[in-house]
Symmetry: C2
Subunit: 521 residues, 2 copies
């Protein structure tokens, strides 16, 4: 191994060709300069990509980098045909990057076999946060309740934080929104228990998406798997918690907006009983279903947040505490999930050692469609005036959803709304005082390179599963208990209204191995 | 080259020993596992360190990392004795890292020859920012003056930003400070010209230091050279601008707090004429010398900021516009600088093609000491009550400085204050309507591993050079025109009071090559 900057024949030209192709985002040349095959590696702060095709797909989606100039190069010649190149680059407009590349010569051509890239130093990841501080808002440092001391909270950009606006995931909305003069009660409760608000984290626009692909601030990273989307609409808080930049995410769930990112990123999450936690100071999407909830890496932090928000002991609705060890399962919900997810769920259920009782729910399409229509009517009533007044302000997918919402007629809405009480009653009867469990979503998070139609299809399939708690107005905990295709999928526990605290405890207990003979009944 | 995870003999043990040593921050073992010599490399988002000793010094100063678990390892066996290891690590508390290591076996021992590390994803660099947003405060999007549109501003944590507190670099102060209800005029002027406030950036505590080593938030990175300190007290804005995270830094300069980080990080910076820019909404350090100023990567952005703050055409003080091409030089100021800096300055001055006229200034020790005493008396008057009420709240160096400030007697202060007008008069007479130029500071920024006494010695030497503009109440532009030991050093242009705009133009013009025969007179 030698140092210095003595280039073997052809390598400097290849290195320069690579930098030139980067500058003009010539993905064909970049692809050609990476070794083909599954063994090629490229890593950066978003994670490690394995295989030429994964790297190529990433690059197509990236859309170029800031212009850089190579400031210095260190060469380590390892064999005649293998050289490690460590380059320091200076970006136009400030900041330096670092790239380590293992170049290999095959049949006369130099190509990169392994690359490790440190890009330009960003102030922060604007796909995750809109405003972030050290902290942004200090929690109370005195007081009776210190149960959330040292907990760092990422607040979804739908809640009032004093001194800040609610951006709701849209830059135009953000520019004209009024500055909040007080914290939303859901924020204040966390501060009063000693938690700090680290920042305001991203949401899908007006919370009207489950993907976490905000057209303005970008796709949030998936903290569990960098090749997949992170999910939404509580997208920023989920990524912040999964990446360790916050300990607790404060979010909302109308039709899955907390459960989906929890499942996608391997987090614990709860949507609370509809109406149990104050929605004051929260920008609504659809009041008939909107709920407040939280995300955390551990059930303990989640339970602490629920206890702060719901200090009264619960579990007294629908005839007593949460039922003992039995878990309820609805076959229709398993039919709605992907086969690999169902297999993982069945294995988990079997291993849990719990008794299982089958229950029958209302037709899932009926649930999803009824929720969709009422949600759309309310979303349009809440935001239609703004959307109409700001043509072109929304990303394509959310714009399309609002356009569809605008077409819901009063008759459509009245018909759907008339079905709600009956559907809700039937869901609540089926669950009774027990706990329904299901895979939170059909499968692992889609790839970051998934097309719009794919993501939309996932949304539709997801809503059939998430609508049960949505229409039921019931609390639902997503616990990171399954692995499918190497990625996390949650198990969702849906309980009776008002059993939120007990439900978290129950979900946490279920993750501990049990033997049916020792199981409390 | 082969893939997979087949470890050659001894490598897995060495790799594991390295991870174990990291976990317990055993720097001796870590040092032993890096190859000795100058060719060893270690890079991360702070830059590339070259040589075993530089790496060892960095590690000693770092003080350990968050606990991590290796999640996956990819091996690329390059020769019998050379293996590239790419490891993905999961940090306790969320987030993943990536490390690429070139391991080499010499006489049976495996050691790391090259390492590239991507650490845990931080929300943001808290040594640079206290609060940061996308943006934190939007500039006006309409208005007659759009001269700063798209300019991102880092505001030193001494200025009022509506909705935020002034932290002044101290967490205790920050916790109890009142929330500002309006922007400081210096902030408002930038917003009115279309600039966005990206965030509130760090300052040395109460701006009473030149080092940029805040005991609470850490040492700001030097955007020009990661092995050196960044300088202060306008530390965060300087780093933010040098790293490309902002385009303009709004700061203050009492005795060098803008000029020093500008010089250390290769930026353009100006301290304005004392009293020329409103200090309303600015936490004072020493009113007799405090000035507002800015930092930028280019003279154009700096000039735009000065024009916004000082819209009246200037350069009319002391008998007309800034003098033509002649530059004034004071030998005493060159004697105060390090020899390598003086050599670089002489080369630059010669190459500038300007006529040079020697001037004599008051004794530099007299200037520095007079400034020091009055500054100390005023600093204590401003903050002594707070400092006394919060024992232990300050970092050691600033605490010591305040302790010394407390010992300044009324007689000391009166004597120093009596000398000020005379010294100011003599400085202003020496400069007249011309431009004094000097190296901004004695030399390049000290190493990040410099000890407290070294940094203090640098401070003393620096104050002898910066006190000229400080005592004179004069504008001073630092331009990144020198390289000394591979690091930037500024050339400082000191002009007559009220010539701020002309001075920036003059400094910018001086960087362009001239021939004395074509030079305007």
């Amino acid at each position: 191994m030698t140092g210095g900057t003595s280039w073997p024949e052809g390598l400097e030209a290849a290195f320069t060709a690579y930098e030139d192709a980067l500058a003009r985002d010539d993905t064909a040349v970049l692809d050609a300069l990476f070794e083909p095959g599954e063994g090629t590696l490229r890593g950066d702060d978003a994670g490690l990509l394995r295989g030429h095709d994964a790297i190529s797909a990433f690059r197509s989606a990236r859309g170029g980098i800031a212009r850089r100039t190579i400031e210095s190069v260190e060469l380590r010649t390892l064999t005649d045909d293998t050289v490690l190149v460590v380059g320091v680059s200076a970006f136009d407009g400030g900041g330096r990057g670092l790239q380590t590349q293992l170049w290999r010569r095959t049949e006369g051509d130099w190509r990169i076999a392994v690359a490790h890239v440190t890009g330009r130093p960003k102030a922060f990841d604007r796909s995750v946060w809109r405003v972030v501080g050290d902290p942004l808002v200090h929690g109370r440092s005195t007081g009776a309740d210190r149960s959330l001391a040292r907990i760092r909270v990422a607040v979804k950009d739908l809640f009032d934080v004093a001194g800040q606006v609610v951006g709701a995931g849209n830059p135009e909305r953000e520019r004209s929104a009024p500055v909040a003069t007080a914290h939303a009660p859901a924020v204040q409760a966390l501060l009063d228990a000693g938690a700090d608000v680290t920042g305001i984290a991203r949401t899908d626009e007006f919370a009207y998406s489950l993907a976490g692909r905000n057209a303005h601030s970008g796709t949030t990273p998936n903290g569990a798997d960098p090749t997949r989307i992170g999910g939404g609409s509580t997208s920023g808080p989920a990524s912040a918690v999964a990446l360790g930049q916050a300990d607790l995410g404060l979010g909302t769930d109308t039709a899955g907006s907390l459960r989906v990112p929890a499942s996608y990123q391997g987090l614990w999450g709860i949507r609370t009983t509809h109406g149990a936690v104050s929605r004051q100071g929260l920008l609504p999407l659809a009041q008939s279903f909107d709920t407040v909830g939280w995300l955390a890496r551990t059930p303990d932090v989640l339970a602490a947040a629920v206890a702060v928000a719901l200090p009264e002991a619960d579990g007294t609705v629908d005839g007593g505490t949460v039922d003992g060890g039995t878990l309820l399962v609805a076959d229709a919900l398993l039919d709605a999930a992907e086969p690999a997810t169902v297999r993982a769920f069945d294995v988990w259920l079997e291993a849990s050692g719990r008794d299982v009782r089958r229950v029958v729910l209302p037709d899932l399409d009926d649930l999803a469609e009824t929720l969709r229509v009422v949600q759309a009517a309310e979303a349009w009533r809440n935001h239609g005036t703004w959307v109409t007044a700001h043509p072109g302000a929304l990303g394509a997918d959310v714009a399309e959803r609002f356009a569809l919402a605008a077409t819901v007629t009063p008759d459509d809405e009245a018909a759907a709304r008339a079905r709600l009480p009956e559907l809700r009653r039937r869901i609540r009867e089926a669950i009774g005082g027990g706990v329904l469990c299901l895979p939170t979503v059909p499968g692992p998070a889609p790839s970051r390179t998934a097309t719009g139609p794919d993501v939309l299809a996932t949304r539709r399939a997801t809503l059939r599963m998430t609508a049960v708690a949505g229409v039921g107005g019931l609390p639902a905990v997503s616990a990171p208990l399954l692995r499918v295709d190497g990625a996390p999928v949650g198990v969702c526990f849906v309980g009776a209204a008002g059993t939120d605290r007990a439900l978290v405890a129950r979900a946490a207990a279920t993750t501990r191995p049990t033997h049916s003979s020792h199981q409390p009944r």
